[in-house]
């Protein structure tokens, strides 16, 4: 008996493999390079890795084969485990760009006295002699870079997976490094470790749901590849109970990752406790990856059972928007507020997702659901990472000043920082001429075209509520007198400045001239099946 080696399309998978390679080299660097060189080497490695993978993505993207009469492009590779198609390439591109920006945020050393925002020695207990020693010696964990690269690899695999098991592996690969990263804050370490533990516990729990869902779906379809599941769903063979149970449990796992209500409880705690750079990375890249996976799973594998799962997603979308918008009103911590804001955005994304509109008209220039969600992810990603970049700048003696009251009067203290942050907030609120507006317009329009009018109306009304809490911060920054000392704005190095500048530029450009990116999302076409 001969065992045939699986056939792997290395060229097509090169972006993913490159990132994995960088991650492994990063681990080697930790093992073999002297401490003083590690920071520089790791940073350069991560930057080169993300940019190289981005270039590779573009290369792969230009060589996708047409399928299904030109409505989709791409191919299924690695023995059916991975689909590299238009949406995958688009999401990889977005993920890699945002990861690149996040690397810059990770590498910032100017804000905290010449060291990164990560713990000197994670193993040292908070408040002990060991911790003090680590901090006086200026230690820092450069392992964050390889950890992040592993997470990025998982995120890239997640929306590309074409098999339930691959998807599960991707989910774990992206989650585990994130759990660790959350616990590595230099300041407020107890809070950070609590966040990591919470995230880990709940994440493990949701992975369990996801896995059990896979088992049920396998039981229903008799296979784990999306093609097999789609075929079984279309044929309506087997027990419907197994399918519905499987869909429900798997969506718990995915909705947890996109932080949709009622599976959002971890979000504010984790966003607050994690180092801000990690929060930004997590808020942006995890959401992009998880929405990509959600889209593929539901559109490709469960597409035939639309009628069974759309009511559930409708309800989840409404609850998510409501929870995100309303609970944000009561927050007094800027990171918690941004966490609820990201929940609200997940709700808006779900509205676009559930519209299920595919262009049918002869003109073919209408906005499809997939296109609108992809576009929204881009707009959301850049404005959010920019906003978190600003959050790292406003500081007091104890590190970042995250309590909202400390932001009072920032407009007077530092007009530029306050102005840019106000712009990000206005964009999140969906004011025209910002990317937030064009994104919102796109998801609501595709939903309306799919006939989801009630969702659009609810979304619009909750947008007003959401706008109100963004405004609160603007009012605080501009119209309130500073309390006590007032906030100080630390002077960052070029790294953080670059992050904020990129976020700002993307928010302006996508708000005024969204055409090219919108076209790019349209060109991604449909998923390959």
């Amino acid at each position: 008996m001969t065992v045939e080696a699986p056939h792997i399309e290395y060229g097509t998978l090169s972006p993913l493999l490159l990132i994995l390679g960088v991650a492994i080299v990063g681990v080697m660097v930790e093992a073999f390079l002297p401490r003083r060189l590690r920071y520089l080497v790791q940073t350069l490695l991560a930057i080169a890795g993300t940019l190289g993978a981005f270039a590779a993505t573009i290369y792969v993207g230009t060589r996708l084969a047409d399928r299904a009469d030109g409505r989709a492009r791409g191919s299924i590779v690695a023995e059916g485990a991975i689909a590299v198609d238009g949406p995958t390439i688009f999401l990889w591109g977005v993920l890699l760009l945002l990861s690149f920006v996040s690397v810059l945020l990770f590498a910032e050393r100017h804000l905290d006295g010449g060291v990164t925002a990560f713990a000197g020695q994670a193993a040292a207990l908070p408040g002990t002699e060991a911790e003090r020693e680590a901090s006086t010696r200026g230690l820092e964990h450069t392992e964050v870079f390889p950890l992040m690269m592993f997470a990025v690899a998982g995120m890239m695999l997640f929306p590309a997976s074409n098999d339930l098991l691959t998807m599960f592996v991707a989910l774990e690969v992206l989650s585990l490094p994130l759990y660790l990263l959350c616990g590595l804050a230099r300041r407020r370490r107890l809070l950070s470790q609590e966040a990591a533990l919470k995230y880990f516990m709940l994440g493990a729990f949701s992975s369990g749901f996801f896995l059990y869902g896979i088992a049920l779906v396998y039981g229903y379809a008799g296979g784990t590849s999306f093609a097999a599941v789609a075929e079984a769903v279309a044929g309506r063979i087997g027990s419907q109970g197994l399918l519905l149970g499987g869909v429900a449990l798997m969506s718990v796992g995915l909705l947890f990752k996109v932080s949709a209500a009622p599976f959002h409880a971890w979000t504010p705690d984790v966003y607050q406790g994690a180092p801000t750079a990690v929060t930004g990375f997590m808020a942006v890249c995890t959401k992009v990856a998880a929405f990509g996976a959600l889209l593929r799973l539901f559109y490709v594998a469960f597409g035939g059972a639309q009628r069974d799962w759309t009511p559930m997603i409708w309800i989840v979308a409404i609850v998510t928007m409501a929870v995100g918008s309303i609970f944000a009103l009561t927050q007094s911590d800027i990171k918690r507020m941004l966490a609820y804001s990201s929940i609200a955005h997940a709700g808006f994304l779900l509205v676009g997702f559930v519209g299920l509109y595919q262009a049918t008209g002869a003109a073919g220039s209408e906005i499809t659901s997939l296109q609108s969600v992809l576009f929204y992810l881009v707009t959301y990603g850049f404005m959010t990472i920019g906003a978190f970049g600003i959050v790292t700048l406003v500081r007091d003696a104890g590190g970042e000043a995250n309590h909202l009251s400390r932001w009072a009067g920032l407009g007077k203290e530092s007009p530029l920082v306050a102005g840019v942050f106000a712009f990000f907030l206005l964009s999140m609120a969906g004011i025209p001429l910002t990317s937030g507006f064009t994104g919102k317009w796109a998801v609501f329009t595709s939903a309306a075209q799919g006939g989801a009018w009630p969702l659009v109306v609810v979304g619009v009304i909750l947008s007003v509520v959401a706008a109100y809490f963004y405004l609160r911060v603007i009012v605080l920054m501009y119209f309130a007198e500073p309390a006590g000392e007032g906030p100080t704005v630390a002077v960052p190095s070029v790294l953080t400045v670059a992050v904020i500048a990129v976020g700002l530029a993307a928010t302006v450009v996508l708000g005024v001239l969204p055409g090219p990116v919108l076209d790019l999302a349209a060109q991604a076409g449909a998923f390959v099946r």
Binding site: A363, I431, P432, W441, T445, V460, Y478, F479, L518, D519
Partner: protein, 531 residues
């Protein structure tokens, strides 16, 4: 017309705003006149340039040509069907002119107002110019998407103007204003999306261009059309503001500086009534006719409610704000009576109300700044210490109550005629509004200007040269247009006829005004002139 004049009219003030932002900050914190007036001068220069440009446009405007003039159409966002499309009809031109006329006056009148704000003088005038540019864009937009974007964008300058330079409760007032406006704006967004969905189903693919949307909306399902109409109407009613969604205006006017109030009430609120003509009637003729009874009742309620509440106010800016609610009731009444007298009157009213309320806000602003209080009981006998101020106050007040011979009378009379032609009941209630107007204006004048001189009033300075220079053009325009409104009515009438033919009410128009002369009481040659 190949040169993009309208774009220039829009960009010029915005450039001014940018220049002001980049100017070095003048030391506004220091009291006294030592601070240089550079920002004011720059703002004045840019606003005067814009005025010159728009007057030039008005002179080259051909009132008898069909459709929009000075048109510019470029594809903007293809996927959204959005265009960068500008153009003017008579109604748009009137409002662009109003904006351009009022801005330099506001700059002149607000010369020192920004000193008391929390922020630099530069930013006050920069926001002011930004507002002017965006407002001109709103009135000139011929693409629904572009209109919507600019419509929402105008909120920010005014938000920061109120919140940054207003009175003690400015932050509350600014937020209330913005939340109300965003609510309206987002409800409208749902309708804007609806337009996209409808147009995407048509053969031409998605489009927001007004000229392409109008025929598409003609075939749309009745029910859908009505829903979409509602979205637009609610937004415009909040903007206008109509009863019962007017409550943000008194708060905003009470806290804002006089200049901000003028821009808010005289210019921005006109977007509401302008939008009703152009978008509600233009895109949804069937739904507009369907909604007419309710809208007319709301308009009459606004007229009476605004006037009645105004009588009871103790704060001068609040009082003026409520009079505006009443006046906007008249404007909406004129629009929805669906005949040419009413609509010509309404459009004219938008312009005249801008002038008269602008004058009223500014002159009372001077008064309030001198006394340091905006409460009516704090004043008394001003006319014997500051006769000029009192005189202009009287002119402003009389124009606000539509005294014959002053410009608002012409428009109010036309609106009344239109209402009478539609149904005498509306006219009867509206007349009551006119009577109440006399009451609230004259009572305010009597309480503040006449009687014994209060101790705090003694030694009050009369109007200075700069202040007079700001007031003079307004007074001149109010009087001149009171006797000679033709230049405006000539421009407005064809545009109104166009709108009406759309709604399916092509009525003979101009000749009807002559037939209603029995309604005239005084010797009002000017309404005859309106023919």
């Amino acid at each position: 017309m190949s040169f993009p004049w309208l774009t220039l009219a829009l960009v010029l003030p915005l450039t001014g705003a940018l220049v002001l932002m980049l100017l070095p900050k003048s030391s506004s914190a220091r009291p006294g006149e030592s601070a240089s007036a550079l920002p004011q001068q720059v703002a004045l220069a840019f606003s005067l340039l814009t005025l010159a440009l728009t007057v030039g446009l008005a002179l080259r405007f051909d009132p008898n040509a069909e459709g929009f003039q000075f048109e510019e159409v470029h594809t903007w966002i293809e996927g959204f069907g959005a265009h960068y499309a500008l153009g003017l009809d008579g109604i748009g031109l009137t409002l662009v002119l109003l904006t351009a006329v009022l801005t330099p006056i506001v700059v002149l009148a607000s010369w020192g107002d920004a000193d008391r704000g929390r922020w630099s003088v530069n930013s006050f005038f920069a926001w002011l110019l930004a507002l002017e540019g965006l407002a001109i864009g709103v009135f000139a937009a011929t693409d629904v998407f572009l209109f919507y974007v600019l419509f929402e964008a105008t909120l920010l300058p005014i938000y920061f103007l109120i919140g940054g330079f207003g009175g003690a409760r400015r932050s509350y007032a600014a937020t209330k204003f913005l939340v109300y406006s965003l609510l309206g704006g987002l409800v409208m967004l749902a309708s804007v999306i609806g337009l996209y969905v409808e147009s995407a189903r048509s053969s031409g693919g998605p489009t927001y261009l007004l000229s392409e949307l109008v025929p598409i909306m003609g075939d749309v399902d009745t029910g859908v059309g009505r829903w979409l109409f509602l979205g637009f109407f609610v937004a415009f009613a909040i903007k206008a503001p109509m009863f019962p969604v007017h409550t943000w205006l008194p708060d905003a006017a009470d806290e804002a500086t006089p200049g901000t109030s003028v821009m808010l009430v005289s210019v921005l609120d006109k977007i509401g009534t302008f939008g009703m003509i152009r978008f509600c009637l233009g895109l949804f003729p069937e739904a507009s006719t369907w909604a007419t009874p309710v809208v007319l009742v709301l308009a009459v309620v606004s007229i009476l409610y605004g006037a009645l509440v105004a009588i009871g106010q103790r704060s001068i800016p609040r009082l003026i704000a409520y009079t505006s609610v009443s006046h906007f009731g008249f404007i909406v009444l004129g629009i929805f009576v669906m005949n040419s007298q009413g609509q010509v009157g309404s459009t004219l009213y938008m312009f005249n109300h801008g002038l008269s309320t602008g004058l009223l806000f500014l002159v009372t602003g001077f008064l309030i700044a001198r006394r340091g209080s905006r409460m009516i009981p704090d004043f008394g006998g001003v006319q014997s210490v500051a006769p000029l101020l009192a005189g202009i106050f009287l002119v402003a007040g009389l124009s606000s109550l539509s005294l014959p011979g002053l410009s608002p009378f012409v428009s109010e009379f036309l609106v009344m005629t239109g209402a009478f032609v539609r149904d005498w009941w509306y006219a009867a209630f509206a007349v009551l509004g006119m009577v109440l107007a006399a009451l609230y204006i004259l009572l305010m004048y009597q309480r503040t200007m006449t009687g014994p001189v209060r101790p705090a009033i003694e030694g009050m300075r009369d109007l200075g040269r700069r202040e007079l220079a700001a007031m003079a053009p307004l007074v001149t325009l109010i009087v001149a247009l009171g006797f000679f409104p033709q230049p405006l009515t000539d421009v407005i009438r064809p545009a109104v006829a166009d709108t009406l033919s759309h709604v399916g009410r092509a009525d003979p128009g101009p000749t009807v005004t002559g037939a209603d002369t029995e309604a005239e009481t005084g010797a009002d040659a000017e309404t005859e002139g309106a023919d």
